[in-house]
């Protein structure tokens, strides 16, 4: 199974959170992230990104949509859920590797 950081997950590809590096976050940020329902095994999907520099991003977690900056998203490891999502990511990485 491919594992990615949340900040490199493409839009609208459902994924599951496998790990959150709480230590990499400031305590207040880590706490707020927990309060907003971020947790291991939770399903997450990116739905929007900011118009300038594609930052921040909006993620759907449970029934909530939450805006976070990409820097915070980098602390969250996910695995894409659909084969389609995995394939998409796979080709993208392959393309980057080829360059």
């Amino acid at each position: 199974m491919i594992r990615l950081r949340l900040d490199s997950l493409p839009m609208r590809r459902p994924a599951r959170i496998v790990a959150i590096d709480w230590e990499a976050l400031r305590p207040a940020e880590a706490r707020r992230l927990r309060e907003l329902g971020f947790d291991e095994h939770v399903t997450i999907e990116l739905v929007h990104q900011g118009p300038f520099g594609r930052d921040p991003i909006a993620a759907r977690v449970g029934r909530m949509t939450i805006a976070i900056r990409r820097a915070v998203a980098a602390a969250i490891t996910i695995e894409p859920l659909t084969a389609q999502g995995a394939a998409h990511v796979h080709t993208r990485h392959a393309a980057i590797a080829a360059e």
């Binding site: 207040a28 706490r31 300038f52 930052d55 900056r69």
Partner: protein, 619 residues
Amino acid sequence: MVALVGNPNAGKSALFNALTGARQKVGNYPGVTVERKSGRMSLADGRPLEIVDLPGTYSLEPGSPDEAVTRDVILGRQEGERLPSAMVIVVDATNLDNHLRFALQLIALGLPVVIALNMVDLARRDGLIIDPDRLSAELGVPVIPTVAVRKQGIDDLKERIGLLVGDGAQRISAGRAIVHEDIVVVQRRARAIALAATTEEHGARQWSHRIDAIALHPVLGPILLAGLMFLMFQGVFAWAQAPMDAIGALMADTQAWVTAHMADGVLRSLITDGLIAGVGAVITFLPQILILFFFILLLEASGYMVRAAFIMDRLMARVGLSGRAFIPLLSSFACAVPGIMATRTIDDPKDRLTTILIAPLMTCSARLPVYAVIIAAFIPAKTVGPGIGLQGLVLFALYMMGIVGAMVAALVLRRTVTKGQSPGFMMEMPKYQLPSWRDVALGLWTRALIFLKRAGTIIAFTTVVLWALLSFPKPPADSKANPVDYSIAGRIADGLAPAFKPIGFDRDIVLALIPAMAAREVAVSALATTYSLQAKGTAADDPALDRNLAQRLHGHWSLATALAFLVWFVFAPQCISTIAVTRRETNGWRWPGFMVGYLFVLAYLAAGITFWASSALGL
């Protein structure tokens, strides 16, 4: 006293309005800039009851001063507040998983509670049916379904509250300490309870997602935001003009009436030139403030505000602010007073303080009359390119100077006085909602009262002080001296003049700057008075006089002085209302003092550089 507690976006304020109606009071908790919103409600049996609307929070571990107050009140630790005799926990039916976690933590405290299962209509719209009885059984506390914005379920809720605080109800002497349980564990339990209580869930497409497809679209989103902001400014400038003129005329009539019916003397002068002028200066701001707040409340209540913050966050992050600072700063283009009041929506205290400190750099509408007169007098009305007039270009440059100055100031402040980690940006994006007009009207009413009472008293007071400075001492009867020159203000101007000489300001300009402290646009009439040949009793808002003033200024000032004067107004904290509202919002004189200091230094240097540079260029 009963406390209203819950997550942000649970509809707590709407429920508070539904329970109390207009019988609300907004105060402050001692020592912190957190609003205490309380109201009276009558129970079914006629007993009155005080309800306090506590700031929304996600848990009992505070992340902001607001959240700390919520925790301290429900633990009975808040200074100046009794331990509540019961709590109404407001949860959003469409977001039960998340809100139940906090509800579980609150229930564990042991106070008598009732849960208001709010927004059940929106849940139904989203295809969610929740069984309140099942939820009540799982939680072990009463659950009342409500739709606060439509006033549904309010009577049931009042009845329940009545039972909780009735004579037979258990008395709680002190709150229990927080049960320190891992947030994740509580969250999982909340999820299980939410699942058990939800009898039906089908994937109806949520409305909010459809709106967001446009509102947060990478191209359409910023266009929509720009359009909304344009509409807001049109509203502020177009709709406020008529009531502002009416208020101005009313004040002038009142002054004329008092003048006609009172004997000439110090008392008459105090009433007309001091009190009426001062109160008038305050009330003239009111239409703009109300219109601006109308838009802000609408954007806030509809859920759009967080989207605007989302769009702007990246740009604001470059100077160490967050997207939250965007709307308050934008409002400051109309007037810094409502802009600074609007910073309350910023959670991070340093982010908020920085925003307050740079808000006066946004060119407010009061500066326009000053710019207009000086530009008309000194900048030739010629074109410098296709469709680009030089005068308009200078005006644009002045606005840009303010914006760039604010950005640089934010960068510097975030690295020095408001140093701290970058505020970050992590926000729940609430569902879109049709705002209830009643809630918007109530919000406007409370804002207007706060402005008139708090800022108003200080502004009226300082205006009277300025009046005294400009009126005393009187010159001897046989003296030919101008009374203003003879007054304390005139002498202050004499004293200050050497300090301003290097940046090209003569004594008369300094003298005009003193009354301009009350309100910037007064500088125009002050200059008019100073340069007017008939020194006494000229009406400053006579358009013919404005034209004459432009000609007269042209004779007195060099172009270098005029440019320096314009630049001075870009930066100088020439507004007592702003200083007063900063004092109120930061709870003390320390930050307004700092603000005045740094802005004066900035204004002096910028005006100086402009003067020296343009003198060197031979202007």
